[in-house]
Symmetry: C2
DNA sequence: ATGAAAGCGCTAACAG
DNA sequence: CTGTTAGCGCTTTCAT
């Protein structure tokens, strides 16, 4: 059953190396010879063995991707882009979910290394220096996506600016009592940056962000969103507007608020972050900060392949893309999308990010 | 830089084969020896080479998965389950998106074969026999997920029953003029089955499904959903209820309907299929048919690994799981979830499928 | 419990 | 343009 290059060679009446060349196209092969080889391979049902080739090249045509979770639609356009770039380069993509667990990240990267993959992309849960260092390796290039990284290549968005956009918008709408639901620990530099921009813009506008109004969650999952809503409901004095640092979190947050009789945006304005696919179709269409997700994945993958082929001049990439505020109903700047006003939102977007 | 088993062996003062055994644990190794080996490996920064091992075993510890698109949240729990099972067996998961294109499916399966992967899972866009035959192979087991397959293992849901559930529910609510939006071509056996159950239950209830009221779409994407809504709006006589064969399609369909002033469920009741994650949080909470997605992925992966380890008795698996109707607001059986009635929906589910 | 020899399928390097 | 030689890193016999 295992048809090898030798079998094909024998049948085509050439040497194994010629078969190899006919397939990989690295060396010229006479058209006639090549035809014979291809036909012999066809007849024998030969399938090239990438493992053997990988053995020789000390590298396999695959790249690894580690994301916190596929359940967050935020990562889907990123992965789409990575796969598109990888396909152009004839590389397969191995996807691993870390569940935001640094140990799982490390384990995945380790597997990638054992498999001698060409490179890896990662959105790390934590940017703790010792964790990242344990990921670094000179044999396998790594590019960080959607997070900043000082010691290596990264492609991300200006989260400080993103946070600022939210604060400025809320201030512009007249809010003075503004709170926030923030996910992830101190290792989540993206959220830290959003908060920083948010807070400083608030202060520039003469507002503060009292710590009672900063609700923390571990993850971005529904259970945490609900807890955040409950925490909000228990506040003795509630803010009139809330910045939720991820759309996925905002969905559950708003849902629970409404279930408890708090109207959005009338009682509380909510602004999310990420502009995930479903933000537009929710019970309350979500005002949020859009990130160029597809673009991020694309740039990151391109940089990774540059490292893989050792083309670049070796200087670190630190790509910072621009976020953009998308105004929908949840912040109250537009009338709520109730059934009485069905014409409020005609636009429907289908951009890839 | 390439530290091999020989380097470790030299440093530990043993033979290469002993190092191999210390790592793979296939043969007994004296505790003392093993410690020395592990330490030497640690000091040298040795990383086992799975490619070389794969070369010997003629198989690499990876399985491939082909799904139409990750953008459809339907596939996420399936993938989660597959990854969980694969992790237990120390296998990596390569994910490929076919965009419902049979050629891409074939190409992906081919790559998997070239990479000598242990097996593959696939949700094929088309069950055209010649297409499937081209995917079959005796060297690499394949299990089909979420579709029926007569000539091989498959794990799916009773879509005929699913379609019936929808029809019966709509009839029970008093609808007599019922239409449908169906995606995919004739090769999509899942949708065909849903339609079959739907239609026969309708007829059993004394209703018919006139062909003017069957709107077809190519894919499940937003653009198609919008086209479907426009087609619906142009109907000279409209049904009072519509079965949309996928939630992802229903989202855009409802959105466009509402944007055009058609109320859901008051003017048209809509029932979806899949119960994707966001169905509950939409502008109109979606009545839909829930599928045991995580379970499907789990069973399929388990069957695949049984094939891989050649444990089973070789008889074909044909697992058929049960669908379940989830009633929310879009069918009108519950009051619409407007802001005036915020307590209508307290329940929030966090099941893995 | 450990080792020696042989080879998995392919391709780089060097001929011719 | 084509062939020969050697070896990628590991694990399987088969010995000891």
């Amino acid at each position: 059953m295992p048809v090898t290059i030798r079998d094909v060679a024998r049948r085509a009446g050439v040497s194994p190396i010629t078969v190899s060349r006919a397939f990989s196209g690295t060396h010229p092969v006479a058209e006639e010879t090549r035809r014979r080889v291809l036909q012999a391979a066809e007849e024998l049902g030969y399938v090239p063995n990438l493992v053997a080739r990988g053995m020789v090249h000390k590298r396999v045509p695959m790249i690894g991707v580690v994301v916190p979770e596929l359940a967050n639609p935020f990562f889907v356009p990123i992965i789409d882009a990575v796969q598109a770039v990888a396909r152009e380069r004839n590389h397969m993509v191995v996807i691993s979910q870390s569940q935001s667990d640094p140990d799982m990240e490390r384990a995945s990267i380790n597997q990638f290394r054992q498999m001698r993959m060409a490179g890896a992309l990662i959105t790390p849960a934590s940017m703790a220096p010792e964790h990242l260092r344990s990921l670094r390796d000179h044999d396998m290039p790594i590019v960080v996506v959607a997070r900043c990284w000082d010691d290596g290549d990264c492609v991300t968005v200006d989260d400080v600016a993103g946070g600022r956009l939210v604060a400025e918008h809320l201030l512009r709408l007249g809010h003075r009592r503004i709170g926030c639901v923030a996910h992830g620990g101190p290792g989540n530099v993206a959220v830290q940056a959003r908060m920083k921009g948010f807070r400083s813009a608030l202060e520039a506008g003469g507002c503060s962000l009292p710590s009672e109004w900063v609700i923390r969650t571990q993850t971005v999952r529904l259970a945490d969103a609900i807890q955040a809503a409950e925490a909000f409901l228990e506040l003795s004095e509630r803010p009139t507007a809330v910045f939720v640092t991820a759309d996925r979190l905002a969905i559950g947050f708003i849902h629970r608020l409404r279930a408890r009789g708090v109207r959005v945006p009338e009682d509380v304005a909510v602004v999310g972050y990420d502009d995930i696919r479903y933000a537009e179709f929710l019970e309350v269409p979500l005002t949020t900060v859009a990130l160029p997700k597809y673009e991020m994945g694309k740039r990151a993958a391109e940089i990774l392949f540059e490292r893989i082929s050792e083309e670049g001049d070796g200087k670190l990439y630190r790509v910072l893309l621009e976020p953009k505020l998308i105004v929908r109903a949840s912040c109250g700047a537009q009338p709520a999308n109730r059934q009485g006003h069905p014409f409020a939102f005609e636009s429907v977007s289908e951009n890839p990010s």
